[in-house]
């Protein structure tokens, strides 16, 4: 019941976010399933900082430190598409931004049979969200099954 806001509200929020992204010079960072954008422009807006940029054999990793101390990583395929986002820290990053069009799917997904406040395992179509941890140390990852470059082990994305 509390999960789903009216669709009109969601659409309005989504439109608003897209509008803000289009108008602002500080475009927010790359979003799951969308092309990699210049991450530096995100830094000022989120008061975040780039910790590192790593090129690995089959993907590129942006590591972003948020003011809360949370570290977010964005994984970019050779095609330039963001295929995974991970986080670890005292609070989650803005997942509405990071998951983009997949955020509502994540929020409204049915819960596990033995749900508790420590675990999330969601698979809805192409989207997988997995999370664990406890207060002060929340971790998780979201990825698109169809966008994972060949040879990448999901277990290595954290």
């Amino acid at each position: 019941m509390p999960i789903t806001a009216p669709n009109t509200f969601k659409s309005a929020a989504l439109f608003g976010a897209m509008l803000a992204a289009a108008l602002s010079p500080c475009v927010a960072t790359a979003t799951l399933g969308e092309p990699e954008v210049t991450v530096q422009t995100d830094i000022a807006q989120a008061h975040a900082s780039i910790k590192s940029l790593q090129d690995r054999a089959t993907y590129r990793v942006h590591e972003i430190a948020l003011p809360s101390g949370t570290v977010m990583r964005e994984f970019v395929a050779p095609s330039g598409k963001v295929f995974a986002v991970t986080w670890h820290g005292p609070r989650r990053p803005d997942l509405r931004q990071a998951l983009g069009q997949y955020f509502d799917t994540y929020v409204s997904a049915p819960r596990s049979r033995f749900a508790d406040r420590r675990h999330v395992q969601i698979q809805q179509g192409d989207l997988v969200v997995q999370a664990g941890g406890h207060m002060r140390a929340l971790s998780g990852r979201a990825y698109l099954l169809s966008a994972i470059p060949s040879g990448v082990n999901i277990g290595d994305l954290h």
Binding site: I3, H88, P90, R96, S112, R117, V120, G132, S139
Partner: protein, 409 residues
């Protein structure tokens, strides 16, 4: 009249005093020596706890306790609330506002704004104002404790940065699975960093209940572990639960004991003390790997770890749990940040689908285990506590066997 009575009392007191002082040298007045005062009665530091189906009707491996809350300073505006989840993996008391029948005052900042919090859990978040209450559990009292009131009908506008953290909004008893949460982990404050900075999805100042913005909030007003506010028995807790048969059990009852080495019923004895890091985590060695983000946690309802050799369940809603064809016994070692090891422990993993279908009414399943998305973490939940007496010592506090934060068993 009053002055006459006062004079009489004064005179009789003076007489009595002079008699005592003048008779001091006689040495024969045994009957006049007052008996030594009796020792102060020991505070009742034991609360009964239970694992049952909970208010949502479908809880498993979830530990509950009853808590009494009173308006600060009142002995009459009080309410006892059952089925508050006992959670060593969080800090502070949170109550579901829909079950509250007493009125508790909302905290107010110097500028008149009220205080609210966005509390993130792994699977979602809760939103609500911070109220103050005198909190009683067993014979212990935490006076004027900051407590979160979740799902408060006045605070209906969840800030966007709170909901943007994702997951489900847990603001009803059904969604929360409990009437509240008693966070009694090894730290005092839930989000200490939010005392100094206006962080997103943390604390808020509210000009009105529906207009809240990120704000730093003084430490004393942040949600805080009730145990640290007790007058005594305030250096930690012990949870003592009986062992549970492998197939599970309908309910389990045990004790939540306050204090460590403060009374005769909470002596550490020969417990193994494993100190914890700043995230209340320690090391677990499993399958030849050292998992650095591991923790023991009464608020987790199973044993969560990664083992790609184990078969997961195929049943709907259970695909993140393990379903081995036979019960497996696996090895585990745990190491504290102090280097102390608990070596050669074992735990059993059962078939989650089978155990549930065999005993669908049971609420305690010691062999329930599932996957952990963090491959560097072993989350040993309530099954760890079955058949043990587990102590959790608060950061900076001393016991007979060490200084918190630590976990001992």
């Amino acid at each position: 009249m009053v002055s006459t009575r006062a004079l009489r009392i004064f005179l009789s007191l003076a007489f009595a005093l002079s008699a005592v002082s003048c008779g001091g040298g006689s040495g024969s007045g045994g009957s006049m020596t007052p008996p030594p005062p009796p020792p102060p009665p020991a505070t009742n530091n034991v609360a009964s706890v239970i694992v049952d189906q909970g208010p949502s009707g479908n809880s498993v491996n979830t530990l509950f306790v009853s808590v009494t809350v009173c308006a600060p300073g009142s002995t009459t505006a009080c309410q006892t609330i059952d089925h508050i989840q006992v959670d060593t993996g969080s800090y502070g008391l949170r109550l579901l506002a829909p079950v509250l029948t007493v009125t508790l005052p909302v905290e107010t900042l110097a500028n008149g704004n009220t205080v609210a919090e966005c509390t993130q859990f792994v699977d979602g978040f809760s939103w609500g104002p911070i109220v103050t209450a005198d909190v009683q559990i067993a014979g212990e009292t935490a006076s004027s404790l900051p407590v979160q009131s979740i799902g408060d009908s006045r605070y209906t506008a969840v800030p966007s940065d709170c909901s943007s953290g994702g997951g489900m909004l847990e603001d009803t008893v059904a969604d929360f699975g409990a009437n509240g949460l008693l966070g009694i982990g090894p730290f005092d404050i839930d989000q200490p960093a939010c005392a100094t900075a206006a962080e997103t999805a943390c604390y808020y100042a509210c000009a009105s209940p529906t207009s809240c913005t990120n704000s730093a909030v003084p430490t004393a007003m942040l949600v805080s572990n009730p145990v640290t506010h007790f007058a005594s028995d305030n250096n930690g807790i012990m949870i003592s639960l009986p062992s549970v048969p492998s197939a599970g059990q309908l309910t389990v009852t045990g004790s939540l004991i306050f204090g460590i080495d403060t009374q005769s019923n909470n002596a550490s004895g020969t417990q193994t003390v494993l100190t914890l890091d700043n995230n209340a985590e320690l090391l677990m060695m499993f399958n030849g790997q050292t998992l650095a983000n591991s923790f023991i946690d009464s608020g987790s309802n199973g044993i969560y770890f990664t083992d790609t050799a184990l078969v997961t369940c195929t049943a709907m809603g259970l695909t993140d749990f393990y379903c081995p064809s036979n019960t497996l016994t696996l090895g585990l070692s745990i190491q504290g940040m102090n280097g102390v090891m608990a070596n050669n422990l074992t735990f059993d993993v059962g078939n989650a689908a089978t155990m549930l279908s065999a005993n669908p009414t049971f609420n305690a399943f010691p062999l329930l285990a599932g996957t952990n998305p963090n491959t560097g973490s072993f989350d040993y939940g309530l099954p760890f506590f079955y058949g043990k007496r587990v102590a959790v010592a608060v950061e900076g506090d001393n016991t007979a066997v060490g200084t918190g934060p630590y976990i001992a068993f």
